[in-house]
């Protein structure tokens, strides 16, 4: 296939835009997936834990 400037422009102007929207939708689903709520809550609290040693 001939990879010309026009081919790249075509690709960038069509699916080049939509795959980003696709990604964004996946992220939104991941963020608001109900099962993840508990994990995120734990993550935001755990860093305040005052124990300064690696876990074994």
């Amino acid at each position: 296939m001939d990879l010309t400037h026009e081919t790249l422009v075509e690709a960038a102007k069509t699916w080049g835009l939509f795959y980003l929207i696709g990604f964004s939708l996946c992220v939104l689903v991941y963020t608001f997936w109900p099962a993840n709520r508990e994990r995120f809550d734990r993550a935001k609290r755990n860093i305040l834990d005052e124990d300064d040693q690696p876990w074994t």
Partner: protein
Amino acid sequence: MGQLTTRERELAAAILVALAVVGIAMAAAGRADPLGVHGAIVLLYSMVLLFLIMSTSFGPAPDPSRVSRYYDDPIKVGVAFTLFWAIFGMFFGVWAAAQLAWPSLNFDTAWASFGRIRPAHTTGVIFGFGGNALISTSFHVVQRTSRARLPDQLSPWFVLFGYNLFCILAVTGYFIGVTQSKEYAEAEWYADLWLVIVWVTYFVLYIRTLARRREPHIYVANWYYMAFILVVAILHIINNLTIPVSLGHAKSYTIWAGVQDSMVQWWYGHNAVAFFLTAGFLAMLYYYLPKRAERPIFSYRLSILSFWGITFFYMWAGSHHLHYTALPHWVQNLGMTFSVMLLVPSWASAGNALLTLNGAWHKVRDDATLRFIMMAAFFYGLSTFEGSFLAVRPVNSLSHYTDWTVGHVHAGALGWVALITYGSLYTLVPAIWKRERMYSAALVEVHFWLAFAGTVIYVFAMWNSGIIQGLMWRTYTEEGTLSYSFVDSLLAMYPYYIARAFGGLLFLIGAVVATYNIWMTVRGVPVAGGERHDDIPLAGPLPEGAATRPAE
């Protein structure tokens, strides 16, 4: 380095000998070329480190219990590098600013001409100060949030010293006239190749630490650090694809031609702002802000959304640096659109930070360190708004090539990057040196007001001068000729240039105060076991100081 095992020392010595041989080869091949000078610097640097390794080799074997503690020694050296480069870079910034007001301050020398000390300033503050702060804090944050020690003791040192060798080669090169003439990518091909090696090691080290994590979820700060490391590697490699004149020559030519070169450069340049000066510092914000405020982040979900927003959108924004150029119009539009969209994830992060503090404003009032972090979030919101605004093409027609851009960059660099860094350092330093608190809370307060006043003076001076410049350059007479010559606009800038140099000077004094305060904190006495409860290992108290100090 006292915790290094014999095997790690041997490996370190082997690497340094190899590096010294490379230095000799560069010196031999380069001869009178600047490459020869850099060969000598590489040789000297590796010999000094080799001496350090050898001279500490005959001490007792490292304490086997070290693996049950975090590895903080490289962070301590990294903090020292950070403070050194801050003063170095800001000093050159003040000097360059003063040269604009009083040009004779180059003393008629080549090395101190504006064109050479200005990149010394940008490299010193961005890569020297910012980069070392990012590396040090990332080693701290990744260990704490993963509940795992760094996987080995050699690669963190390799990353730290290797990275600083890159900074030294870059900055010394500018003084002797070595440059690729690319903004934020001035260092020549051999320094760039070296940085690739260092950076890949950094990436692998980070992944290996995360792979050892005991905490199942990877905290959001690590995602930001990962994005920073990974994207900077990609940007650096692609923008620095060059062909040297010969292996004995410092000069190289880029493989990109014409407008492609501009596009690649500003794709790099803008993402250097995004992933070097934003993503990594947001990682600091998402770790040190909750730690210091002792409150969890307002919304963890929002932090995830802003992370992905930033990674998706920033990649496309670079072309807004090339409005009204030979770059195709649709590419300019693309950059402009994504720049405006960027406001959403940027303000999400800034808002998330400020809402975290909602209900704890009394802490912000009493604790200057937390105020550094709060003000950084505020300036982050301010400069990202300004950035999206300046990227709009008609606005850009007024602002481009004027001091407004410089003001915008410094609202980000001083107000956001430097303030969050110092806020993080004031949190980090007592933690890793096991001190109860900083040596002097009053000096932190002094530093805050110097930094804040310096930033405000600087930014207001540049807003004024930039807008005046932009307007003077586009004012026409009734006959259709330009009303003002370039020199007219230059004369109008004079008071603002003095104000700017003064603002920068205040900021520099603040950095000196911070260095003194941190030095005195380090020299102070560590807290006795039991007082700082978060530093006590679970399996009973250790002898005093053993938790931090290598077993000499």
